[in-house]
Subunit: 143 residues, 4 copies
């Protein structure tokens, strides 16, 4: 499953270069993960309500052409790997209307996440604690 | 007591107008409050460690001349009013080297704060729960 | 005209109090102004493309009940005053589903804006330079 | 050359997990680069004043133990590679007082930068356009 979400740029997210400040792409990545989990039917909020959190373990990003205020763009998001203890999300930004299979993305990135208990930050196995999420990731990986 | 602290502008805090984005002045105000409490000998951290927090109830700001990346400026901070349940902080930004008594500030603002319990957000009297802070504010108001 | 827009809270916008960090309401206010101008048929981008910008001159905000991640809320936005050189926007946040005429808002604010030339930051009369915007504001004030 | 700078955590930089929000480490990385260039005697501002900018091309970060408000920490920064067209910065965060040669860092990262013309975003050779910077990087790499 590839989830495609429109990307809205806030004025506040630009900097004096006249483009989106590089750290703010991480906010777009989080918006994209949130939308992905909603598309899976397991909103992130559900996880926190159940006493868990899903912090970022690591990330990698590559900046191509800069985004500007007013640009129409989309974020394509997919899961490329998922085990009981780690899930890898991938991201690519395209101009609205671009062919997302054949165009060069404006930005690519990936982030690795685990799931931890809210009170102790202790990592858990989603296979055991969150079988619904584990199965959902497995299914989107098979598609 | 007027506390004067240098103000450092991050690249991230500018926007495509080429100046500091207006919402980021609230971060400078918070930095200034933090420094003020440290100058009083009661770091904000102490309050949270004791099970309290000090949220903002309201604020007012006036933007004069914009700040740019690389500008050397200072924030002048003082408490203009304090009761058992509310404290009002005032802020003014000047260029480094300006006479802070007679120059026109680049920015002025004020914010009103209460103290609440961390677990319930229930407001408390600092006169009763935080006599040290209540007395410290009283003293700086008398100066 | 009162414009009502849904408000989406990012995880990044919360702080360790577990609620939306106070400065981030200014981002919601900007989102609301952007949506208001779009509803007027004069997107903010149009203004910048024409060589103008609309900085914030001053603002006032009152925080009531805090917003939390996952909360469903709306921002109600209207213009309460507009002249050739200044426009005042007003904002109120309500829980989704609340009666916006009779409920107590979670947050209220106002901001005053001018229009300046992009290159010089020199204020201009929108009556002369942006008659379309001037008339649009006049019309929403009469409603 | 390894440059060590203290790291100050803003309340605004925490999130509802009670720790520093992951994207805000990129701000610390930028603060660290700024301090590094100042230590080299070539403040970033100088570059922009000369008509150039230095955007981020890519970055990689690994989150270890979370940072909390009030934590005392330092960022260690060094350049691991530099050519005429690309420079790689490295970062590691340690608790204040930790032995930075032998302790496990709380966070590590790297970022790759180029230098471009401000007006066109066209990449330039720092060897040709910024020989002072090119030589400075060369020298810190040899140390």
């Amino acid at each position: 499953m590839k989830n495609v979400t429109p990307l809205t740029i806030r004025y506040a997210e630009t900097d004096m270069m006249g483009v989106v400040y590089h750290a703010n792409y991480l906010l777009y990545m989080e918006d994209a993960r949130t939308a992905f989990l909603e598309a899976l039917g397991i909103p992130y909020q559900t996880m926190e309500d159940a006493g868990f959190m899903s912090p970022v373990l690591s990330l990698e990003v590559n900046y191509g052409s800069p985004l500007r205020y007013g640009d129409k763009a989309v974020m394509v998001t997919w899961v490329s790997r998922s085990t009981a203890v780690k899930t890898v999300y991938n991201y690519a930004i395209f101009r609205e209307g671009d062919d997302i299979e054949n165009s060069k993305p404006l930005f690519t990135g990936s982030s690795t996440h685990c799931v931890v208990r809210r009170d102790s930050f202790e990592p858990v196995s989603i296979k055991r604690e969150f079988p619904q999420l584990f199965e959902a990731y497995k299914q989107v990986l098979e598609e």
